[in-house]
Subunit: 377 residues, 2 copies
């Protein structure tokens, strides 16, 4: 992956840089790539560059590979990975390059907000002035009401993210912040402050997905991971139509599908990357994925359970909050970072002790269109 942040590189340069590194690392240089799958949410709107899969097939020198773009909003990276998984599992391909890329800083902040707002329900939300942060604030408020979460407790979550991000040389934010700074930063949508919200970033991440036969041929059986499962599910578009404000049903459903496919449960997970677009999401994600009881995730955070050296490290590389969130790149960055954990290749201070199974959770709309990926050594 590239560094995440506000970057000079164009969207195609970001994609090519991440892809070149993935091809090189995978040892698949010179082998024929069957498919190129590109996850990107709004390339045309953010950058004016469109038809990204067709264009990148040329730029990357993988013609005549089949090339497809996949879009599920901010989970586009994980969905692209899912299509690669399906193509390999179906026997339709042996070697696939998957890229997740977004370049969000070329447009004005207000334009970026308008582009991102399209993931909400226009009829029920956007036209009444709702923003993603406003909806997340409603969820946080309800969560506080139901479970007694305090502002001070919630501030521990972004502080942990920044703590990890400070040790990740590719993170958008590499500065430690205190819980007090989170609480004291300016309000975005009460009770959420600036430091509860992930940034908009530029960046790309890539992966090479191959059949077992190809992995053997490349002599990579010792440094590859297996895709144990991918679960994917939606919920109703408008938050008001959903069953709960303190749980995201699509996560529960996608998680259950993934656990069933992998024949595993939450206890089998050694490290995870969850979609903490807003701080309260990290708590809800942990509960929806079965890592914590309802309303109790914050206790695990307080006890250090989710820290790098804890029982279940959550977002050891900084999460969306600190690693950054170039929307479609996030899903593949999660997978890339989880993979690095499994092959003991994470930054030293962030390496979890001998994880065997990693889970990634990527959200594709506002609390919708979730993709849960389980990787196994």
């Amino acid at each position: 992956m590239t560094r995440f942040g506000v970057l000079e590189d164009s969207i195609t340069e970001l994609a090519v840089n991440a892809a070149d590194e993935a091809i090189e690392d995978s040892g698949s240089v010179g082998n024929e790539i069957d498919y190129l799958i590109v996850g990107s949410q709004n390339p045309a709107e953010f950058t004016g560059v469109d038809h990204l899969s067709t264009l990148l097939a040329d730029y990357l020198g993988v013609v005549p590979a089949a090339a497809t773009r996949v879009e599920t909003g901010p989970s586009s990276g994980a969905s692209a990975f899912e299509e690669a998984f399906a193509l390999i599992k179906a026997g339709l391909a042996d070697l696939i390059l998957v890229i997740g890329v977004e370049k969000m800083s070329e447009v004005e902040r207000s334009t970026a907000s308008s582009i991102l707002a399209k993931m909400m329900s226009y009829e029920n939300e956007t036209r009444y002035g709702a923003t993603p942060a406003a909806l997340a604030a409603m969820m946080a408020r309800r969560y506080m009401h139901d479970y007694g979460l305090t502002r001070e407790q919630l501030s521990l979550v972004p502080a942990k993210a920044h703590e990890n991000g400070s040790k990740n040389p590719l993170a958008h934010f590499q500065k430690v912040i205190t819980p007090q700074q989170v609480s004291d930063s300016r309000t975005v949508a009460d009770p959420l402050t600036l430091f509860d919200c992930c940034p908009t970033s530029d960046g790309a991440a890539a992966a090479v997905v191959a059949s077992e036969e190809m992995v053997r041929k490349l002599n990579l059986m010792d440094s590859a991971a297996e895709i144990a499962a991918i679960g994917h599910a939606t919920d109703y578009l408008a938050v008001q139509h959903r069953q709960s404000l303190t749980s995201m049903k699509a996560t529960v459903e996608a998680g259950n599908r993934a656990y069933t496919m992998a024949n595993m449960g939450p206890n089998d997970i050694d490290v995870c990357e969850v979609h903490d677009a807003f701080s309260v999401f990290e708590l809800i994600d942990m509960e929806d994925l079965g890592f914590a009881e309802r309303g109790k995730a914050i206790h695990l955070v307080q006890e250090g359970y989710s820290q790098v050296n804890g029982t279940l490290p959550v977002n050891p590389t900084g999460g969306l909050k600190a690693r950054g969130h170039p929307t479609a790149a996030t899903g593949l960055a999660q997978i890339r970072d989880a993979f690095d954990q499994l092959i003991q290749n994470a930054p030293k201070a962030l390496q979890v002790e001998s994880p065997e199974v990693a889970l990634c959770h990527n959200i594709g709309g506002f609390g919708n269109n979730m993709v849960v990926t389980i990787l196994k050594r």
Copy 2:
């Protein structure tokens, strides 16, 4: 599928109408749909509606189905179908709803042209004023030079398309035109006239793709078709970087992949739908797919070989020229029309006699990113 044309319906209405019909026709009403795959090229740019898969999962009542949008330019419909094929073949799903939709008439014609121009190479083509029609005209001119094709001969192709379209109640154009009218219509890019070019249209088409087990469960073994193969390939982005102006290498490659997978050859095809965005493409497609020798496709057109009652009917329902071309809907309309041919459900005057195997050829850029689908009774 909906009717194609300049329509009042919104993009979501089009998608829902086609999808409802597909679900109803497939007899899968009430069964759980695992995945919704939506092919759409530029929904946000053409209509302002984005995150189409997430939104349609809600509108169609298929929540919590996984929902993904697939984009490969004008072959997005066929690529969406390809993802469904992979998911079913991988055993990851049993019942998938696939939709191809585009609503192009909400924006001004010049805006639509700018949106469509993004499928060409900016560096090598667009910034020098090239348009899709201009590039197609270069190809036509070279084809005429190399093979002696005349303007009068070329006019037979759109005339055949309109002849078929006149009998297709869902076609954008249902009016017969004479070859002379094609030759006499105004020049768009010399030697191509207005009637050599397909229109921009609104419309949607949908299909239900299921595992064999699900087809049995639905008691549809007698009215289903098998996806025998899908081939998909790219070429260099800029036409000037390609090997030929009179052949599209990505078609040859995608066709070969499909033939190999299906263990078939051009002679096994009983009916086909090819991507005739410009009249000369139909001739080139026929040659690239192995239906005609180089430079000789026009003779087959002249001999009636490619007419509805000919040896190999080409675009019996009117093709892009007459059925219309709502970009991402085209690939699925081709598949839908080919399927209708196989189950003897085409409009009476357009029904080919007992076809067993149908081929669909969908172009995803300017002469790039091809998807070839072979269906079998």
